[in-house]
Symmetry: C2
Subunit: 545 residues, 2 copies
């Protein structure tokens, strides 16, 4: 780098002549520089678009990356450090970390509403909640996530324990069960998890995001907890304004039995599982390519698998597979099919028949699943032909707790996780399209003054309202104008204003104004709280109906 | 290390003779080892106790640390790796990171109640809420926390941006204001922050802990927002079962003016501030020692400061200082005193007279305060003579937002932060002492079966209850015993049981049993939801009264 930059003419020289020369050059130099910066930005866009394509074409991507590098080094040669590129737009510190965002008051209202809705359904099913730290000992997370482990955020080694941010809520939950020797619990947890992914933020995918988990731990009879998990997902998705959805079902043993019967080497089960799981986004040809060219599976094995994993259906498909020559001889496959059959019959009782699909392409990326696996996808709200993707997923993981127990005692578990960020993002754009404005405070009455020098009077009135549990505020200015105070109430949707002035004080009353109708009435100061509480109650019930 | 361990006899040898010799040695060797391990544990306790003394005696501490090192290296020489020390007690993975804890269902119920109480008071004062990511660009946090910066958790450099976990909610809030060009907002935020401290966990101090912040940003008239912050703290502490408290007040300008008048060099203002702030835990002699011996302040300057910072009082003390010869000539000191005087008068109007104390020893550690500073301490619940310490703190920070704005535009801010972990911990031990058991689920009715083979009937009934928004559960066993099901309800405080059996099904009814009285009645199946909703309503109101 340095050797390149030494060729560059010195821009800031002490003597007059060279300054003039520099200034002379500077205009065209600046033009070149801006042109280059623009080219770099465009090239970055090209690469970003290429990265969005699944599966990415590595060769083309590499070629475009080389082009970007070349442009950058050209920019270096024009003497401007590459860092300047970002300074062109905004000071570096003024952003949130990559893949994260702030939530302002309006998105927070929406988020709170959605999370409360989900939580109320978890509670409807009798779940209790726990909380675990945002980071875990690194060894707790090691070896639990398969190919995704590279996405874990590590904390810097500042002396002491090696820590990582949680990647999901399931592994910490299993650690909690083992550590506290708990063998039975139905728990929910709503908390943020962290993944160093390269997500498309416009689709509601982030590096920091909420998960809403519901899990049933304990040794119980087959498929009864599994059925309740499906029911919980269904109640949640039905209760939110998201359009239609289906819940896909499959079983890890069926996949393992299928792979075994097709001749996949045992040590490749998990990685072939990962490939199969991509069928919701990729064509079979691309999945087949990954299996055979990248993972070295023989072509005839891949083709055998392909026949099965492209099928989905209902009870009839389960029956058909139960008679299938290749699957019939596999014990794990037949166990998986029997489980799916039983689960589908329970789903009928729970009135979920139209919601569930048995889908052999569903595989789930994570290593720890051992039985039934689920995934819920939205079907009603496809845009530009592409699926919104999964909004919930989960499954049975019977061996995870044992990995933490000194004596390998297992606690069988099954659970689901709601991917709530995509739900926020869908409802957010829906509200934006409808131009719905959400109220972000809960102020019930604003205390305004009609003349100067009434700050203390306003403070006294607020003090009295607060003491009586009424949500109230007043201006932080000593002498605000009445019109400004009333405008503030209209802008912020505050329903009532209590106005005090010289004459009101003399009569020991306040003027109570309804903001929406601008109607005013005189209320005895000592009765203000009583009157307000009545009005607030009736206002609320009108808004709710 | 290796050279020491090479002296050690080989414990695991292939030939018989040496095994016998090893076994012969092994018993006494094991005894020595256990003795050493015990000594190390005791020595660790000694050091822990020494570290708890404030200010710590560094010399003694160093001597005891050396002793520990010596014991550890002795243990090495007995051939057991030091790591084994921890294995003696528990498998390494089975813990949460140092300074953190899990919250089980019971603590969660308490925590939720306390946080909702606090949030409802923030809303009573018209605040809206926001959320920011748990980590920030490292440069956002740099240079904001003075001597405490060493406690910031950094994320590992895994390529990309350099990140750190948030240390408080104030700096991210200021970054948010600058980034979104917001000049007016009253916001609250309830979220976790991270500090690599060595906290005493039994006192409710952790490395991961909740803060509940309330801040008023905007250019307003003096002391009006400050007074509301005091009022908010007071409403919160009054509403929680924590005993008496006081809210200490001081002003950074007064401290700066005092330091200047006493002759403290300007560049030492902040570090002398830090020393003064320790007066709530240390004796003046120890603070004086730190100022003069560790920070190099001359003794006569320290003594001059000492006269002032050991005083606290009310309006009369402000008046006295306003006439003080040393302070009278300092413009910042007089400005600070005038501000305190005005704030105290507003506190009178907000009915806080008995709650506030003007305390010149209050200094607050953080660099960013520029005006009034607060701290609330519990006074009613002292144990063993020591103060429970601060449960809330805050102040004015007018220059923080400007540090993030490209044009240094400032947004004046003032706020308070509730240290809610100590509050949890106090209420938790109070409940434990009273043996109060909190209910951790909200199940309203349990669906039980009186005979075998009624699983599907139970599922159908639950499905019907859930659809009607009733919190219900049933056993995940196919054929649970009736007694076990009823016992479960008693253990978990579930108020109602809906029992189905062959005869009930034939009559299209359920037997509805009240768990507390064991009274049963027959209810028409189609009317079950209706009947339950009535009963649940009356149950709730009885519990509340």
């Amino acid at each position: 780098m340095l050797s390149i930059r030494e060729d560059v003419p010195i821009l800031c020289s002490g003597n007059g002549e060279s300054v003039i020369r520099v200034n002379g050059n500077s205009a065209s130099h600046e033009m070149d520089r801006l042109k280059l910066i623009n080219e770099i930005k465009e090239q970055r866009d090209v690469i970003r678009k290429l990265q969005d394509i699944t599966p990415p074409n590595i060769e083309i991507l590499k070629k475009e990356m080389d082009k970007l590098k070349e442009l950058k080094s050209k920019l270096c040669r024009t003497s401007a450090p590459v860092d300047d590129l970002d300074n062109e737009q905004v000071k570096l510190t003024l952003k949130t970390p990559k893949g994260t965002r702030d939530y302002g008051p309006e998105p927070m209202v929406l988020r709170k509403n959605v999370l409360e809705q989900i939580t109320s359904i978890f509670k409807r099913h009798g779940a209790q909640t726990i909380d675990t730290p945002v980071f875990e000992l690194r060894e707790v997370l090691n070896g639990k996530y398969g190919e995704d482990s590279k996405l874990i955020y590590d904390l810097a080694d500042q002396g002491g324990e090696l820590l990582s941010l949680r990647y999901d809520l399931t592994v910490p939950f299993a650690r909690y069960l083992a550590m506290n020797k708990i063998s039975n619990i139905k728990r929910y947890q709503v908390a943020k998890v962290y993944r160093r992914d390269n997500p498309v933020m416009s689709k509601g995918r982030y590096r920091e995001f909420y998960q809403c988990d519901f899990d049933i731990a304990g040794k119980y009879d087959p498929m009864i907890p599994e059925a309740e998990c499906v029911r919980v997902v269904s109640e949640i998705l039905t209760s939110l304004p998201m359009g239609d959805y289906v819940i896909k079902l499959n079983h890890r043993s069926l996949l393992d039995g299928l792979f075994e019967s097709c001749g996949v080497p045992a040590k490749q089960f998990r990685t072939i599982c990962s490939s199969v799981d991509k069928l919701d986004k990729w064509e079979w040809q691309d999945v087949r390519y990954e299996m055979t060219q990248e993972k070295g599976l023989s072509e005839d094995i891949a083709d055998k698998i392909g026949v099965y994993v492209q099928q989905h259906g209902h009870k009839d498909l389960v029956e058909k597979f139960m008679q299938d020559d290749l699957l019939k001889v596999s014990k794990p496959a037949m166990e998986g099919l029997a489980a799916i059959k039983l689960l589908l019959s329970y789903c009928d009782i729970y009135e979920l028949t139209d919601r569930v699909i048995f889908d052999l392409s569903l595989a789930r990326g994570l290593d720890y699943y051992t039985g039934i696996i689920y995934e819920a996808v939205l079907t009603g709200d496809r845009r530009k032909g592409e699926s919104v993707g999964s909004v919930a997923g989960g499954g049975r993981y019977d061996n995870l707790v044992g990995m933490f127990d000194p004596r390998q005692r297992n606690v069988p578990c099954v659970g689901i996780s709601i991917g709530v960020e995509r739900i926020f993002s869908l409802i957010e754009s829906k509200l934006a399209a409808e131009k719905t404005k959400l109220r972000t405070t809960e102020v019930q009455v604003y205390v305004a003054s009609a003349q100067k020098d009434l700050l203390e009077e306003r403070m006294r009135l607020c003090s009295y309202l607060w003491k009586n549990g009424i949500n109230a505020e007043h201006s932080y200015k000593k002498n605000p104008k009445l019109l400004g105070q009333l405008q503030y109430c209209e802008d912020n949707g505050i329903p009532w204003v209590a106005i005090v002035g010289e004459s009101e004080i003399a009569k020991n009353i306040v003027r109570l104004r309804e903001v929406s109708t601008r109607k005013e009435e005189e209320v005895d100061r000592n009765r203000l709280c009583e009157v307000l509480k009545e009005k607030i109650q009736s206002t609320t019930s009108i808004l709710q109906s």
